[in-house]
């Protein structure tokens, strides 16, 4: 090949590369514009006051600059986003996007600013995790991660949360949840917490019937109800026999 031809080919390739990248980015940008921009703004700058947007949504939402791939991955894979009404609490829903679409969207959101990447947790010690979970999480999420309430919001159960989503949520603090820095919960401790939450999905129920893992109160109540019913039945039987 002559040097001139080589140079031209190289130049052509250099020109084509950004074009291909743009085409790939273009898909994410298009998805973003259609599904996210009404509330988060076309460039991720956020929408402070209700503004009419796509699909008849009165858009309003926080800026996405600097939230990074971590938050985008969490909110999209849990089905928390897109949200039909900005005033609703995001909750675990059917994910509307395909895997490729999620990747494109995550890339698009990450491009708004220097944000943290998607974490890769490695489950650690279950017993250390239980102690940490009791300290930091059980107040809202309940000792066996069954969820509950805080005034003004539902606290989701963690039964369907993947390792990655747990690791993401601890750092992000979705909706009303506080976020925990690497000082409050170290990466190693986070791995332990992930291990414990995994354990709560299939706990070792030595007593047999778990009664929803809700703790001693319902267990006692069920015992009393069953025992009381049996006692009443026996008493009724005895009374009938004596009268006869």
């Amino acid at each position: 090949m002559r040097p001139v031809v080589r140079l031209v080919t190289a130049l052509a390739l250099l020109l084509l590369l950004p074009a291909a990248a743009a085409a790939k980015d273009g898909r994410g940008a298009a998805l973003y514009a259609a599904n996210c921009a009404s509330c988060h703004g076309l460039n991720g700058q956020g929408v402070a006051t209700p503004t009419p947007g796509a699909n008849g949504v009165d858009g309003q939402g926080p800026p996405l600059r600097g939230v990074g791939a971590r938050a985008a991955d969490f909110y999209l894979r849990t089905g928390y986003m897109p949200l039909a009404n900005p005033h609703d609490q995001p909750s675990r829903k059917h994910v509307v996007f395909t895997e490729a679409e999620i990747r494109a969207l995550v890339k698009s959101v990450a491009s708004f600013g220097n944000g943290p990447p998607i974490p890769t947790p490695h489950p650690g010690s279950v017993s250390a995790g239980q102690r940490l979970f009791t300290d930091h999480c059980a107040g809202c999420h309940q000792a066996v991660a069954q969820g509950g309430y805080v005034t003004g919001a539902r606290v989701p159960p963690l039964t369907d949360a993947t390792d990655r989503q747990i690791a993401e949520a601890v750092r992000i603090g979705p909706y009303l949840m506080p976020r925990f820095s690497t000082k409050a919960i170290t990466p190693k401790q986070l791995n332990d917490i992930v291990a414990y939450v995994d354990y709560t999905k299939h706990p070792d129920d030595r007593g047999g019937w778990p009664i929803g893992h809700l703790g001693p109160w319902p267990e006692g109540a069920v015992t009393w109800l069953l025992a009381a019913a049996a006692l009443v039945a026996v008493c009724t039987l005895l009374g009938r026999r004596l009268r006869a």
């Binding site: 926080p62 107040g139 949840m177």
Partner: protein, 327 residues
Amino acid sequence: MTRLKDWVTAGLVLVVGRGGAPKPKQEAPRIVAAGTPDRHAENVVILLFLLATIAGAAFIVVYALDRLSHQTQWLGLAIGAAFALLALASTVIAHRLVVTEEITEDYPEESPAAQDEIEQIVEESGSRFTRKRLVTVAGVGALGTIGAALLAPAASLGPILHTGELYRTPWRRGRRLVDEGGRALTADEIEEGTFYTAYPEGADRELIAAPIVVVRLPLAEIRERKEWAPRGIVAYSKICTHAGCAVALYRKPTFAAVEPRPALVCPCHYSTFDPAAGGAVLFGPAGRPLPQLPLSVDRTGHLRAAGTFSGPVGPSWWGVRMGKARS
């Protein structure tokens, strides 16, 4: 050796009861009528006892093996079955093997004369008393005092007279805030959107007024006691003013425009306190605000208490509003 043999023989004789004719029992007149023997019921009872024995033994075996799956369930089943079979055997014995008879006795007719007589006997039995009223008063006094003595330990349920202790706190001006590990907290490391538990440096952490919860809010959002919140960092007692649980929940909005505002929440009964407004009650059964601890930042950037709490720490009691928290 022969001695051992003798002992064994003696034991066998004793157990089996052979080797000598039983003493003839003295024939006394029967009280209970003789029943007809029921060999069938007897067999059933023996069988039930045998099964109960097996179930009891099964419990011991399952317990000893200690590595069956569902061990708890097997243990419960074994001991439950043993008791059920025992109960069944007892029922059969009572119904089929014990001789029963039904006797009815007429209720005695009322007799006013006899009643009057008893009253008279009671009345006249007291003829040795000369100061009846005094004895009665003394008796009532003794019984009443014993009753009071039985109730007295209830005073240990809480201070009644020396409530002064309830106002004392280990916090005083200049005391540094330390974390669970005893490390002093700096203002810079306190971030928004999360919460921290802190203790007074060098004081007993078991004291009810020791633990505090620290959060950081945007300075502009703080509506009350701005001078207590350097750089927007506020501290409150971690003990709920309702029933004394640890205020372990902190909710913070991700997007303040459409979500509930930041609040400290007690997980026991959902008392909700506003960290931006001096710990005012937003919701729930708590009757008074969460006591706030004034903060200051020293030259090295460490957080220090700038005084003591805005009110008494801990669950409320009858006189909680009559005093102030003191160091």
